[in-house]
């Protein structure tokens, strides 16, 4: 036990003395969180639209006004001489509303009048949003025009857990998990591969410290650092993005502690396997960003991942933690909701530890 503490203390001392590493440990994750949470969003909040009004009746002008006064769209002017598609091609607008010649007359006659909406489909997700929002605007227009008609069903939409439709409330926790998955692993792997690469580990071998003590000492040190990072990130999430904990936090805390153990052990494992620091970093980056980001459901839903890849997703540790985090920040379900995820993380962490230990077990040069 004393050796574990001595090992941990040495690691922390080294880290604190290395200014660049400290910046990496504390400032860069916060900066990343800030930039990515601010920048990543699928919810386009400003949709430019051009309108070609071939009717110019009172009714059509009211329709154009409906779009003009909506929050989501803003109407951009486009010369009549040019085709509306050109606006889409040039990227000046996301959609073009083409109001046909006899709209006013047809509506007055009680007909269901088709109005074409050209949508830029290159960004499929935004295209769907555009289509949906446009439908809402025309429905509201219809309601205003003729009271909506008798015997029609109205929809009252309630948004749970995120009534403000805030993107940051969804992505913020995701980026939180991403950053916590990468930086502690990076630091741990760098420290470990530096030992093996520069051969300072020879003195460790000569001292007959056991592999468990050595590993646990290293892991403990970086878990402490990771916890500091996590606290800092949580503060930023709260202060800048208004994302804070909902409900009782003990499940979240336990899950976080286990997850950080898992992540740091992963980094240590990579560092032990790859004595060259630049290469170790690339592997951590590969696994970190690629797997956790892509397959962990951090930004894009897991359900959309094709089935064969989804199996891989089940082995990705970040996938379970993101559910714990989302629950903690948005739903507040607590232990009942997330104990399976906590168990999964503990399991994966155990696997990593076993692998790392078996790599170091001999405490000798492996040639």
């Amino acid at each position: 036990m004393s050796r574990i503490i001595a090992q941990a203390r040495k690691e922390l001392t080294q880290l604190v003395r290395d200014r660049r590493a400290l910046v990496l440990a504390l400032a860069v994750p916060v900066a990343q969180l800030f930039i990515m949470t601010s920048g990543i969003s699928l919810s386009v909040n400003d949709l430019p639209i051009v309108v070609q009004d071939l009717d110019r009746s009172a009714a059509s002008e009211r329709l154009v006004d409906a779009f003009r006064s909506s929050i989501t769209f803003h109407v951009v002017s486009w010369p009549d001489a040019r085709q509306p598609e050109e606006a889409l091609m040039a990227g000046a607008a996301r959609a073009a509303l083409v109001i046909p010649e006899h709209l006013g007359r047809d509506l007055a006659r009680g007909r269901a009048t088709p109005v074409q909406l050209l949508v830029d489909g290159s960004d499929a997700n935004t295209a769907q949003l555009v289509s949906g929002y446009a439908q809402q605007v025309t429905r509201a227009y219809d309601s205003a025009e003729h009271g909506g008609g008798a015997g029609q069903v109205l929809a009252a939409v309630r948004l749970w857990f995120n009534p403000g439709r805030s993107s940051t409330r969804f992505y913020g926790p995701g980026i939180f998990v991403l950053v916590l998955s990468i930086f502690p692993a990076l630091l741990a792997s760098l420290a470990m591969s530096r030992e093996t690469g520069q051969k300072t580990i020879l003195q460790v071998y000569v001292s007959n410290i056991s592999a468990h003590e050595f590993l646990l000492g290293k892991i403990a040190a970086f878990v402490v650092v990771a916890i500091a990072e996590g606290l800092l990130l949580a503060v930023v999430l709260r202060a800048d993005f208004g994302v804070s904990l909902a409900g009782e936090p003990t499940a979240f805390l336990a899950g976080t502690a286990l997850y950080l153990f898992c992540v740091v052990t992963f980094g240590t494992l990579i560092g032990a396997a790859i004595p060259e620091q630049a290469a170790a970093m690339q592997v951590v980056a590969l696994f970190g960003y690629l797997l956790v980001f892509l397959l962990g459901g951090l930004i894009f839903p897991i359900e959309n991942i094709p089935i064969p890849l989804r199996w891989v997703s089940n082995a990705v540790w970040g996938r379970y933690y993101i559910e714990i985090v989302r629950d903690a920040f948005l739903r507040g379900g607590g232990w009942a909701a997330v104990w399976p995820q906590i168990a999964a993380i503990a399991g994966i962490g155990g696997v990593f530890y076993t692998l790392a230990w078996s790599r170091l077990r001999r405490m000798q040069l492996a040639v």
Partner: protein, 387 residues
């Protein structure tokens, strides 16, 4: 002494360039980076990242249990957008399921649903959405409202009571039938947006990482000193480093294009030449970025750490995976300084929409300017280091 041009000796240049080529050829990790990693990354990202909202898990609590309400429920169930998980006896149970995460959406049909419809009133159906993911919620909302709209329209055509009981006189009884036509991507394939973004990402970021490593390799092994002691001038050394790198990374352009076409069936509506020329500019930008990072770092490890900060930020701020218009207003102007932003716009407009220089010249110009700035900066830094 053989031919020289403004002090640059071709013999020396040839010897230097040949050495670079041999070094690159013998570096196993480089082959990985140029060939394997772009292919794997584009495939993985293109297939795994999908914002598509389909098969939203829906639960229904039908308080009415009449023909009309079952009609509505089956309309919801038959749609491709929703996956009807099941019926719930009460709104409380529906709420619990939603809270537990078993459902993404719930529909509550009130008890008086059918009666209200018959009497020409307008019953309200509650649509509850799990808005944790705002994007999914917005799209699911769109689906739900469209289905309700269709339901209403069918009722009108089938002769629902036309005259309201309240004597309300409408201005007209027509309605606008919005008909969306999705241009350029009628099938709404989400991967096209993403893989064109990845194209830009790979061009700039991969090159930047390879460039840093190449620039630093000499310094780390100590051979830089030897080079500096030789008659080779800094221009020759810089040219000899940049040119082979550029040539090799251009191979990546072809591989990624192949993946886009063969694996994702991205259409090539417009000029591929324009896209490739822009990609070449991106590679030069990447070389510039990588060199600048290398000159600020003392070891390959430090350069990678800097890249760890710069690269994800660039990706976020360039509209690679998520649209720029979704960023907060204050952040949007920043995207202009990223070469990836411009390339991605060029790629998407040219490949998917068939646009050409007429629409894209501002982006091409911006890309050219950025390339010039980055290359000048990097050459200047490199020289300063060597002097």
């Amino acid at each position: 002494m053989a031919a020289t041009f403004r002090g640059v000796s071709f013999d020396r240049l040839r010897a230097l360039a040949r050495k670079e080529f041999i070094q690159i050829r013998r570096d196993p990790r480089l082959a990985m980076t140029i060939l394997v990693q772009p292919i794997v990354a584009s495939l993985l990202i293109g297939f795994a990242l999908n914002a598509t909202v389909s098969q939203v898990r829906l639960g229904v609590a039908d308080g009415s249990r009449t023909a009309e309400s079952r009609d509505l429920v089956s309309a919801l169930g038959e749609s491709e957008s929703f996956h009807l998980v099941g019926g719930y006896a009460s709104s409380a149970l529906l709420g619990t399921a939603l809270g537990r995460g078993d459902l993404d959406a719930g529909v509550l049909i009130p008890v008086d649903f059918a009666r209200d419809l018959e009497r020409g009133r307008r019953p309200t159906v509650q649509v509850i959405l799990n808005a944790t993911n705002a994007n999914t919620a917005a799209i699911a909302q769109g689906y739900a409202e469209t289905i309700l709209e269709d339901y209403n329209r069918r009722r009108r055509l089938d002769g629902a009571p036309a005259a309201p009981a309240s004597g309300f006189a409408p201005a007209h009884s027509g309605s606008v039938q919005l008909q969306p036509a999705f241009l350029y991507n009628p099938g709404l394939v989400t991967s096209w947006f993403i893989v064109t973004g990845v194209f830009g990402l790979l061009m700039v970021l991969d090159t930047s990482i390879v460039a840093s490593a190449t620039m630093l390799r000499e310094r780390e092994t100590g051979t830089l000193e030897q080079l500096l002691m030789s008659p080779a001038g800094t221009t020759e050394i810089v040219l000899a480093k940049f040119a082979p790198l550029f040539a090799l990374m251009c191979v990546m352009i072809v591989t990624v294009t192949a993946v886009l076409r063969l694996a994702f069936h991205v259409p090539f509506q417009g000029s591929l030449g324009l896209v490739w020329a822009s990609a070449a500019l991106c590679i030069l930008c990447g070389i510039g970025i990588g060199t600048v990072i290398a000159t600020f770092s003392r070891t390959a490890q430090q350069a990678l750490l800097t890249a760890f900060f710069v690269n994800p930020s660039l990706v976020t701020l360039s509209g690679v995976l998520t649209p720029i218009e979704a960023m907060p207003r204050w952040l949007q102007p920043v995207t202009v300084i990223s070469p990836i932003t411009h390339f991605v716009t060029i790629a998407r407009t040219a490949l998917l929409k068939g646009g050409g220089l007429a629409e894209l010249w501002p982006h091409v110009a911006a890309l050219a300017v950025l390339t010039l700035v980055l290359l000048t900066l990097s050459v200047w830094r490199f020289r300063k280091q060597m002097a």
